[in-house]
C-alpha cells in the first residue's frame, strides 16, 4: 500500500469548548476549569519548549502563578526566538479610533480571512483577549508608537478596513518579545523558571498515555538527557523552513512538533502555508534565506511588470503605456491591497508568462515613484525610511531611484499540531501554543494576527486551561528508569549515532535545498494533482538517499551545528510527505492552498464547503506508511460562509 492510500479514521471532536452563546464561552470555560491549590502549584512542574512570544509569555505567567517551570530554546538566549523578527504589528479590537472596530468585527474578519477553515469558538476568544494583550504589554514597558497627545497610534494593516494594528516602528515583534523575555528573566531570578538555552528537544516522553517529559540535547556538550514533568507545553514555532528558503530564522524547525506527532499527537492541516508577496527576490545559488519587506509598503507602492515578455530595459525607461499594473487591473476594488495569497499568486502568474524582472525573471516591481512625486521624498522617508535602507543594504539598489523588486516567499504555517479549545493535543498533558498549533487562522492568517495569537495563548489561555489538566491528572513522579523514559533516550542516542556514522558524500544543506526546491515547485503557491504525486514519488527516494549518503562531520559530544541541522532535515523529510498528501487530498482551493483543479472561470480560488468544511487531523502510523485521517467538522453559526471576492 502506498503512502497516498491513507485511511479514514474516527472523527475528532473538540470536547473542551463550551457551547451556548459565543460571547460567553471563554468566560464559562474559565469558570469551569478546576483550580489548583496554591500550595500544590509549587510541587507541579511544567516543561515549556520555546521562548518566542507564545513560550516566553507562557513560562513567565506559569511561574507567576506558582508552578515550577523548565524553559528550553535552541538559541544562546531566550531573547533570540524567531518572534523577534516580526515587523509590522499586532492586532487588537480596542476601537481606540472609533472607526467601527469591535470584538465581533475582529472575530468576523479572522474567520472570513481564514477562508472558513478555523473554529469559531477559538477565534472569538482570540478577539476578546486581544484587548488585554495591549494592556499587558504597555504595563511591561513595550514602547509602542504614540501620537503627540501621548496615546497609542494605530494603523491599518493587510487590507483591513479599520485601524486596529498597534506597532513599534518596524520592530513590533522585537519589542513584544523583549517584554515577554524580561518577564521570563524576572522569574528566572525569582527561582520559578529554570532556563535551558542552547538545548534542543529531540523526543517527547509519554508514560501511560500522558506527556511526562522530553529528551533534550545540550548543544554545547552534546549530552542528551531526559527532563521529567507533570505536563509539557510545545511553543516551538512554525515549519516554513521545510522549503529551505523562507523568511523564517535559519534554526526554525519542526522537530519538537514532529517528535510529538510520531508519539501520537495528530497533525492538522499541514498543507496550509502562507506565502508572503513582498520579499526580496533570490539573488543567486548561495541564497540562504529570504527577507520580508513589510506589507505596509503596498499601501503606497504600485506593483507592475512590463507589458511585453523579456523587456529588460531600465524600468525608468519603460513608458507608462508599456507597463502592466496587474493588481490594479485585475482587482480594481482592492488594487495593490488584495490579501497576501492573491497578490502572491498574481505575481507568480505574470512571471510564469515570462514577464518577470530581475535575475531568472523571478520578480515584479514595487514602484514608489508616484508617491514620491505626490508627497515628496522626505514624507516617504519618514514612513518607510528603515525599510528602504534595508532593501538597499541587501540589494545594493536605491529604491528612491529605481523600483524595488519583490517576489513571494514562504512566511508562515497555519497548520500544526491539533489542539482542542484548551490548547491540549490528542496526547493528554501535551499542550501546544503559538504558531506550532493549528488553531486560529484556518487556511490563511491575516497580517498582525500571529503575534496576537502567540501572546493570547501564552499569557491568557494556557495558564488557565493547563490548571484543569493538572488539577485532575494528579500524577505520581515518573521513575527516571521507567522503560518509556529509557526507550526515548535510547531512540535519541541511536538516531544521533546513525547520522554520524553514515559518513556519506553529500552535505545536509544540499539535501535540504533539494527538498525545499521540490516543495516550492509542487506544494507552493499552486498545487496540482500531477505535481503533488510527483513530489510524493520523489520525497521517499530523496529521504532514502539522505539516510544512506549524508555527510555529517564531527562527533556527538561537542557543539556540532551540522548534526543539529541533520536531525532537523531528517524530520522535514517526513513532514514534507504529509504536507503533499494533505494538499493532494484537499481537492479544493481555500486560503493559502490553491489547487489548480478547483478554480472559478476567472481563475480565482473555488472553495468546496460541501466536501471540505473540516480540519484534517493526521495520525502517524510509521515512516513512509499511509497515515490515518481524522476529520474535525467545522460548523459556522455566527459567520455565514461566503466566497471571498476582491474584484
Amino acid at each position: 500500500m502506498s503512502y497516498a492510500d491513507f485511511t479514514l479514521g474516527a472523527p475528532v471532536a473538540d470536547a473542551a469548548a463550551p457551547d451556548g452563546p459565543i460571547e460567553t464561552r471563554w468566560e464559562r470555560r474559565r469558570f469551569g476549569v478546576k483550580l489548583v491549590n496554591p500550595a500544590n502549584k509549587r510541587k507541579m512542574h511544567v516543561i515549556v519548549v520555546g521562548t518566542g512570544l507564545a513560550g516566553g509569555s507562557a513560562s513567565a505567567t506559569l511561574a507567576e502563578l506558582g508552578y515550577r517551570v523548565s524553559s528550553f530554546c535552541y538559541q544562546d538566549s531566550p531573547r533570540r526566538a524567531h518572534s523577534i523578527a516580526a515587523q509590522g504589528g499586532i492586532n487588537a479590537a480596542k476601537n481606540y479610533r472609533n472607526d467601527g472596530d469591535s470584538v465581533h468585527r475582529l472575530f468576523y474578519d479572522t474567520v472570513k480571512g481564514g477562508d472558513f477553515r478555523a473554529r469559531e469558538s477559538n477565534v472569538h476568544r482570540l478577539a476578546e483577549i486581544s484587548r488585554q494583550i495591549i494592556d499587558q504589554c504597555v504595563a511591561q514597558g513595550v514602547p509602542f508608537a504614540r501620537e503627540y497627545g501621548g496615546l497609542l497610534d494605530n494603523r491599518s494593516f493587510g487590507g483591513a478596513q479599520v485601524s486596529r494594528t498597534f506597532y513599534a516602528r518596524g520592530q513590533t515583534g522585537q519589542q513584544l518579545l523583549l517584554g515577554a523575555y524580561q518577564a521570563l528573566e524576572r522569574q528566572v531570578d525569582a527561582g520559578g523558571v529554570t532556563m535551558y538555552p542552547r538545548h534542543e528537544m529531540l523526543e517527547l516522553i509519554v508514560v501511560d498515555g500522558h506527556a511526562r517529559g522530553i529528551v533534550a540535547r545540550d548543544l554545547i556538550t552534546g549530552e542528551t538527557r531526559s527532563h521529567l514533568a507533570d505536563a509539557v507545553v510545545l511553543a516551538s514555532g512554525g515549519y516554513g523552513n521545510v522549503f529551505f528558503l523562507s523568511t523564517n530564522a535559519k534554526g526554525c524547525n519542526v522537530t519538537a512538533s514532529w517528535r510529538a506527532h510520531r508519539k501520537g499527537a495528530l497533525f492538522a492541516n499541514p498543507c496550509f502555508t502562507q506565502i508572503h508577496p513582498t520579499c526580496i527576490p533570490v539573488s543567486g545559488d548561495h541564497q540562504s534565506k529570504l527577507t520580508l519587506m513589510s506589507e505596509s509598503l503596498r499601501n503606497d507602492g504600485r506593483v507592475w511588470v512590463p507589458e511585453r515578455k523579456g523587456d529588460d530595459r531600465d524600468p525608468n525607461l519603460i513608458p507608462e503605456a508599456e507597463r502592466d499594473y496587474f493588481l490594479e487591473r485585475q482587482y480594481p476594488a482592492f488594487g495593490n491591497l488584495v490579501p497576501r495569497d492573491i497578490a502572491s499568486r498574481a505575481a507568480k502568474n505574470v512571471c510564469d508568462e515570462g514577464r518577470g524582472v530581475g535575475p531568472g525573471g523571478l520578480g515584479v516591481f514595487l514602484d514608489f515613484a508616484e508617491v514620491i512625486g505626490r508627497l515628496g521624498r522626505p514624507a516617504v522617508e519618514a514612513k518607510y525610511g528603515n525599510l528602504f535602507q534595508m532593501y538597499q543594504r541587501i540589494t545594493g539598489e536605491d529604491p528612491y531611484q529605481v523600483p524595488m523588486r519583490i517576489y513571494p516567499a514562504v512566511h508562515y504555517t497555519m497548520g500544526g499540531l491539533w489542539v482542542d479549545y484548551d490548547l491540549q493535543s490528542t496526547i493528554p498533558g501535551l499542550f501546544v501554543v503559538g504558531e506550532a498549533n493549528f488553531s486560529d487562522h484556518g487556511a490563511n492568517r491575516l497580517g498582525a494576527s500571529a503575534l496576537m495569537q502567540g501572546l493570547a495563548d501564552g499569557y491568557f489561555v494556557l495558564p488557565s486551561t493547563i490548571g484543569d489538566y493538572l488539577a485532575t491528572a494528579k500524577h505520581e513522579p515518573v521513575d527516571p528508569d521507567h522503560p518509556a523514559v529509557r526507550a526515548a533516550e535510547d531512540d535519541v542516542a541511536q538516531r544521533i549515532d546513525t547520522l554520524l556514522s553514515i559518513r556519506g558524500t553529500r552535505t545536509v544543506d544540499s539535501f535540504h535545498r533539494e527538498l525545499g526546491h521540490l516543495m516550492w515547485e509542487h506544494c507552493g503557491m499552486e498545487r496540482t494533482e500531477a505535481g503533488l504525486r510527483k513530489a510524493l514519488d520523489r520525497i521517499p527516494e530523496l529521504r532514502k538517499e539522505f539516510w544512506e549518503t549524508v555527510l555529517v562531520p564531527g562527533t556527538g559530544v561537542e557543539l556540532n551545528q551540522s548534526l543539529e541541522r541533520a536531525g532537523r532535515v531528517g524530520d522535514f523529510f517526513e513532514l514534507a510527505e504529509l504536507m503533499c498528501l494533505d494538499a493532494l487530498h484537499r481537492n479544493e482551493s481555500c486560503g493559502g492552498h490553491f489547487r489548480a483543479e478547483s478554480q472559478t472561470p476567472d481563475g480565482e480560488a473555488a472553495r468546496d464547503d460541501e466536501n471540505f468544511s473540516y480540519a484534517a487531523a493526521w495520525e502517524f502510523t510509521g515512516r513512509g506508511e499511509a497515515p490515518v485521517l481524522h476529520k474535525e467538522d467545522l460548523t459556522f453559526e455566527y459567520v455565514a460562509p461566503t466566497q471571498r471576492s476582491y474584484k
Binding site: 513567565a60 504614540r146 531570578d189 532556563m195 562531520p553
Partner: protein, 251 residues
C-alpha cells in the same frame, strides 16, 4: 570574487585556538558575510574538514545572534550593520579578511566563533524589567506617554543584545547595553517605581559578571549595529548616582 580568509579556530573552551587560512574562489558580491561562511563550510565538509562554528539565526539583523570581529571590527566595516546584513560587495576581489569571535573577559569562547553571552541574560534577570504580572494591567490608555519620551524609550529599546559594544570596548565594559535598558525602562512612567532598585541590581550584576568599567572611549557606539547613542551611558551614570544617594538616605 576570490577571497582569502583567516579564521579563528578553537575546538572548545579549553583549547588555545589559532588562526587558520582558507580560500574561497567563487564568492559573489551579492552574498552576505554569513553566506560566504556557508560556502566555506560546505567546501570544508566535503573535503573532510570540520566546518567553522558560528552563531546566527534570523539573518536579518534583529536577533543579535551573529557575532564576529571582521578585520578587527565587531560586525565588520559597515556602519550600523550586523554581520548577517554585511554584503560582500563591500569587499574587493583578492582581499584577505580576518574573522575572530567577540572577545571579552565576560564572553568566554565556546568554539571557533561562538562565545557565551549568558552574562547579558543575567544582567536582565537582575532587574531589567518592569514587574507587571499577567492580568494586573490597567487599560493601555490609562497612562499617556508623551511622544518624545516614548520615542527616546524606543531608540534605546532597539538594542539587540549582540555584544558588539563589549567586544569593541578596550575595557570589555557592557555599559552601552546596560545603559540602553536603563534608558528604555527609565523613560517610561511605568518604569518609575523600580527605577532605583533596577539600576543598582543591574550594575552589581554587570560588575560581578566580569565586565569592565567605562572610561568613555566611545568605541561601543561606533560598533553598535543599532546605533544606540552614547548618551544612554550618561543616563546610566546619573541614575546610578541618584539611586545610591537615595539608598544612603533611606539607610
Amino acid at each position: 570574487m576570490r577571497l582569502h580568509l583567516k579564521v579563528w579556530r578553537q575546538r572548545d573552551a579549553d583549547d588555545r585556538g589559532a588562526m587558520a587560512s582558507y580560500d574561497v574562489d567563487d564568492a559573489s558580491p551579492d552574498m552576505s558575510f554569513l553566506e560566504l561562511l556557508d560556502v566555506l563550510n560546505e567546501k570544508l565538509t566535503v573535503e573532510g574538514e570540520e566546518p567553522v562554528a558560528f552563531d546566527h539565526d534570523c539573518r536579518e539583523g534583529i536577533c543579535g545572534a551573529c557575532s564576529m570581529v571582521i578585520d578587527g571590527q565587531p560586525h565588520g566595516p559597515e556602519k550600523a550593520t550586523t554581520t548577517c546584513q554585511l554584503h560582500m560587495r563591500h569587499f574587493s576581489d583578492g582581499d584577505t579578511i580576518t574573522v575572530e569571535p567577540f572577545r571579552a573577559g565576560a564572553f568566554p569562547v565556546v568554539k571557533d566563533l561562538v562565545v557565551d553571552r549568558g552574562a547579558f541574560d543575567r544582567i536582565i534577570a537582575a532587574g531589567g524589567y518592569i514587574s507587571a504580572p499577567t492580568g494586573s494591567a490597567p487599560d493601555a490608555h490609562a497612562v499617556p506617554v508623551p511622544k518624545d519620551q516614548a520615542d527616546r524609550a524606543f531608540t534605546a529599546a532597539a538594542c539587540i543584545g549582540c555584544g558588539a559594544c563589549v567586544a569593541a570596548c578596550p575595557n570589555g565594559s557592557a555599559s552601552l547595553f546596560l545603559g540602553a535598558k536603563i534608558t528604555h525602562l527609565g523613560e517610561l512612567p511605568q518604569g518609575q517605581p523600580e527605577r532605583n532598585s533596577r539600576v543598582l541590581a543591574m550594575v552589581d550584576e554587570h560588575d560581578a559578571a566580569g565586565f569592565g568599567g567605562c572610561t568613555n572611549t566611545g568605541e561601543c557606539a561606533v560598533a553598535c549595529p543599532k546605533e544606540i547613542p552614547l548618551d544612554v551611558i550618561s543616563q546610566l551614570n546619573r541614575d546610578y548616582l541618584a539611586a545610591r544617594k537615595a539608598r544612603r538616605r533611606s539607610a
